[in-house]
């Protein structure tokens, strides 16, 4: 319990902007709470793991969507495309600062896209890693 609290306060301390003013950070904080609840050894999100999640061809979900890149393309900075041909705005935060700022939207799309691609919901760790990777892009 104490360890968890330490990790959390460390994370909060590292964030440059006050929590209330940054909805994306709020979402990450919430995910961090969930991630440490699930794994006592949780020690922060990793952009490298996020990138791996983004690029892995799973083949365990629905056949039409083996990977996140199927729609979001190999580069998060590019405009993506749904299977029905509709454009998807870039997911890299540098190109699209409004990304990962609406908790309901983030939750909905993680639920859907992880089920479609991996065949199960993503863990809080995977979600946090993914957002962290996109913040470096």
């Amino acid at each position: 319990m104490i360890k968890k609290a330490l990790v959390l306060s460390a994370l909060l301390a590292f964030s440059a902007v006050p929590a209330q003013a940054d909805p994306r950070q709020d979402i990450l904080d919430q995910l961090a709470v969930e991630a440490s609840a699930a794994d006592a050894n949780f020690s922060g999100f990793s952009a490298a793991r996020g990138e791996k999640l983004f690029r892995t061809k799973f083949g365990t979900g629905k056949p039409a969507t083996p990977s996140c890149t199927s729609c979001h393309t190999e580069s998060p900075r590019n405009v993506g495309e749904t299977r029905a041909g509709k454009a998807i705005d870039p997911v890299a935060v540098s190109v699209n600062p409004s990304r990962f700022t609406d908790p309901a939207k983030v939750a909905k799309w993680f639920r859907r896209n992880c089920k479609s691609v991996i065949g199960r919901e993503c863990t809080a760790l995977e979600k946090g890693d993914y957002i962290t990777f996109m913040m470096t892009q």
Binding site: T82, K86, K108
Partner: protein, 392 residues
Amino acid sequence: MQSLSEKVRVWDLATRLYHWLQFLLVMGALLIGFFGPEWFLDAHVYAGYGVLALIVFRLVWGFAGSTYSRFSSFIFSPRDILCHVRGVLKGRPSHHLGHNPLGALMVFALIGVLLLMLGSGLVVLGGVENQGPLAGFIGFDLGVRARFVHKVFAYLLVGMIVLHVMGVVLESRLSGFSLVRSMFDGNKPRPDIVHAAGDGFEPAGNADDMAGNAHPLPDVPARTGRAILAVIVSGAVIVGAGVLGSAVPASGFIDLPSNDNYSSECAECHMLYHPSLLPRDSWLKLMANLEDHFGEDASLDDSVTQDIANYLSTYSSEAWDTEAANELRTVDPQKPYEITATPFWKRTHARIDPTIFETRPVLSKGNCAACHWDAESGRFADQKIEIAHGQK
């Protein structure tokens, strides 16, 4: 070279202009109707309006034109007609300066069939396409029936045009002068002079001949002023009725309020499908299956799902009388909510190169808006079709 005195001015300028404009517009409308792509509909319809204007003129001119343009100069008794047919069969038909009895029949028949085509065409336009002056009054079912009539008359018209041309060729052969030419310069040789020259033509006054118009008829001057007035008045009545009719909203459409949940949740991966494109049952099945939505998870909160399901079933195809709603109502039982699996969709899109659906900018059969500019309105007007339009 014939001298001037050997010729009679038969067709006045107005009748000749009418004839050739009619020829151009009818041929244009027929060619577009049979071979043109759907998006030429406007040209087809405007050709039709043009033909209507010409017929209005011709009807007026039939009473106010010069001698041979008047209907009274070519209304024949059945006896006259029989007599003429007998002459034709013998290769020595009675000669007429104006229309001969068979030609006259053809003129009336053509005008009649054209009027029926115009009428049925307007009913199709209003009932099936929800366009034009009758859109507010005609339902889809009646429109479909009129479409059948319109087609049958189109074939009949083609047959009549062939007969008309054959008649002209035959008479030109038998009489030794070109009827086509006289429809250009308006003149025909005087029959009594031609016959005196001893060609194969039956001279006037022969037993087989009739008291017809082999000799020039007494000159009747055209009443141009009155004709113009009559054309203007009847034209104004017709155009006025058309404008009034067009102002009535199309009967196939109802007011569709927008639904925030529907427009935000169901347009994320593809265009927002118009609720009229599937029947109620199909929408309900689709909404009950969002976890496995065409190979993707499109699940939503229960309350949002319920709201969208209510909206879609209220405004489903049952509520509309458009072509798309009526035709797409019949779904494939195996794929009850796949618009592009309906028999109608497959039939109407069968002639499109399948690779177009897989390549940019279309990418998917379900991307209706890539070819139908008005897809989101549910109209699917013929004029708004353009394969892979605009987008990059």
